[in-house]
């Protein structure tokens, strides 16, 4: 049973998401606890004729390094680190946590130091991706820690994640192709819109998306997946939005957040929990209080929030906005070290208007 679901997931990611071919070098970065899936993945990649570079990691080691390394040690980039972004034709990142709070005691600055030192590597990675030399996919695998975060039993959470990947469908690849087609239709409709207004309980937000391309996230770069997104014009957002679900960021949590916008910028914020952290993050740099993303979740298999933003933002019938960094591929220009997604549920009474015309009701596009 579990071997079977792992094999199905491996096949879906290798054949549909990444279209792995013979001779491809495939980098796999994964927590070691994902071992049963890794076995299925290596089997699939080997059957496809690929060369697998398997890099299992340990959360315990991550925590020790971030807690105990000096600045010089955190900043060191080795020749092998540099080569690791040049070699792969495909890259798979697996997200599977043993303890979602493992970094609670780590000095916050250390993560920033390490990330800054690796910036050139990330940039090179995405430069190769943009040039079509490399494709990547991030996979969420169920774990006890994530089930705990979601307030669910392990068995229920596993079913939840695998259903979200459409592995319960007789032909998951066909199901994702159908999903992609549905999303293409939504993208086509949104592409005609200049002024987008979102109305729900506590929410009446207007963003300018004229000439900003909408992009369909249809299971190629994330699994599970299912959203369409763009970057709104930076200085045109007006109104307010009530964030329905808990919004986690860097191991911290903000609940019941509300944001008010004028001329694109957050001018007021409230939260039932974590208000101070929210304000701190909004002030982290100039772009942090502007929207970098507006998006609609379209995965009908994801019906509940689980305090994992990568899944919550795909809930069918929701929209989300992100404070901070925009997507250049959507024409976004907002720069920030922040990109914080926050989800608003549209399923009970939400309405979306495109240039004044109702285009979605209760989270369903008409």
């Amino acid at each position: 049973m579990s071997d079977d679901v792992h094999s199905r997931l491996a096949a879906l990611v290798c054949r549909y998401s990444l279209e792995v071919e013979k001779g491809h070098v495939v980098l796999v970065e994964s927590p070691a606890v994902a071992q049963p899936f890794l076995v299925a993945l290596v089997a699939e990649l080997t059957d496809l004729g690929a060369h697998t570079l398997l890099f299992p990691s340990l959360e315990s080691v991550e925590t020790v390094i971030l807690s105990e390394a000096s600045r010089a040690q955190l900043e060191r980039v080795t020749p092998v680190d540099e080569l690791a972004v040049e070699v792969p034709d495909r890259a798979i990142s697996i997200w599977c946590e043993s303890n979602t709070r493992r970094l609670s005691g780590v000095p916050a600055g250390n993560q920033a130091i390490e990330r800054a030192a690796r910036r050139a590597l990330y940039d090179r990675f995405f430069e190769r991706a943009a040039a079509g030399e490399l494709r990547w996919c991030g996979i969420t695998l169920p774990s006890d820690a994530q089930a705990q975060e979601a307030g669910m039993a392990q068995a229920d959470y596993r079913r939840f994640v695998y259903d979200a990947c459409k592995l319960g469908e007789p032909d998951p690849v066909a199901a994702w192709r159908e999903q992609a087609a549905r999303q293409d239709a939504v993208v086509a409709r949104l592409g005609q819109v200049s002024s987008l207004r979102i109305v729900a309980e506590g929410t009446d937000l207007t963003v300018d998306v004229s000439a900003r391309p909408w992009i369909s996230a249809d299971g190629r770069e994330n699994m599970p997946d299912g959203e369409v997104y763009t970057s709104p014009h930076e200085l045109a957002t007006e109104g307010h939005i009530a964030i329905t679900f808990d919004a986690p960021f860097n191991g911290r949590m903000v609940s019941g957040a509300r944001l008010w916008f004028e001329k694109g910028r957050v001018v007021r914020s409230e939260a039932e929990r974590g208000a101070a952290y929210l304000q701190e993050m909004l002030a982290v740099d100039d772009g942090a209080s502007l929207l970098g993303e507006v998006a609609f979740g379209l995965n009908a298999q994801i019906t509940r929030a689980t305090r994992n933003v990568g899944l919550d933002e795909k809930i069918g019938g929701t929209c989300h906005v992100a404070l901070g960094r925009a997507f250049p591929e959507s024409g976004g220009t907002n720069a920030s070290s922040l990109h914080w997604d926050m989800v608003c549920d549209l399923r009970s009474g939400g309405q979306v208007y495109g240039d004044g015309e109702l285009i979605a009701r209760d989270g369903v596009f008409l």
Partner: protein
Amino acid sequence: MTDQRVERLAKLLVGYSLNLQEGQVVNISAPVIAEPLVVELVRAALAAGAVPRIRLAVESADHAFLSRASEEQLRWVSPLVTREAETLDARISVIASWNTRELSDVDPSRMAARSDAAGPALQTIMERAARGEINWCVTAFPCNALAQDADMSLADYEDFVYRAGWMHLADPVAAWRSFADKLNQIAVRLSDVKTLRMVAEDTDLTLGVAGREWKGSYGTHNFPDGEVFTGPVEGETSGDVRFTFPAIYSGREVEDVRLRFEGGRVVKSEAVAGGDLLAQMLAMDDGASVLGEFAVGTNYGIERFTKQILFDEKIGGTVHMAVGAGYPETGSVNRSALHWDMVCDMRGGGEIYADGELIYSAGRFLPEFAPDLSPPDA
């Protein structure tokens, strides 16, 4: 509760074995099951100012690869592995396992193809090590699978492993340094020898060692450790040897190995079980049927055979030799993708003659030839 001996072992490996210095990049290569030791090694490496990179293995994924890979996939070498061999300052490899028989159904020729492909990177590391550019060390982490092979409980096996490394002593590093001095004295004496003859049950083997360097091995490349070794002159080994303990290759046992050498090369090989594997390995490449190493095990804190070569070849009172690659620092010029150690117990009356003179009897060097190598706490 954390076993304090893990932390002590990690500190010894980083400080004594690898002598890690500030700014050096060290790879910590281990199966995931060795996590407690990996964490302590990372911690000790950071404390020394070094830059650790972990390279973890998952045996069952390895099995998935090896059992289905094409010849091309088996022989593919990751550019990252090549770059590591060229640039690392240090590497520590940890032996541990969930199941030492994980790869037992994999065709040995597939294992050989992969070993063969890994040859050049290994060669690079060996050559850089000989020039003092890289320090490497192999150690073991006690786990259930290794304990099971040793017919021991995990708790007993942990005691065995840490006692073999003298971790129970107040100052193990001092003990290893003193041991190093003694082994170096023996190595100096052996350097004058031209011909060695080894005699034991069904064994009468003559080796040429003239001009070859003898090395004491005292915890820098292997930990635990304890041997003196050389690379015999390639074309001169002759006679018969029968190995007391099973020879183990990737979890497969070859029992009661007997080899006959003529002109330095194995001309006849026999085994009670696993003879096919033996023959296949000896034919892997040109150097695979020539001795790359001849050594005397000198850790008298290790007394029993546990089916783990890291420990078995160090048993005080044994001799081992390896078919395949030799260590360039001994003067060996034998090249091979293979390096397969096999152990012969000398404690029941075995003898070694140096240019005709008896220097070793019943598992001990004679007192007039070498200092006492008994365990420091004995």
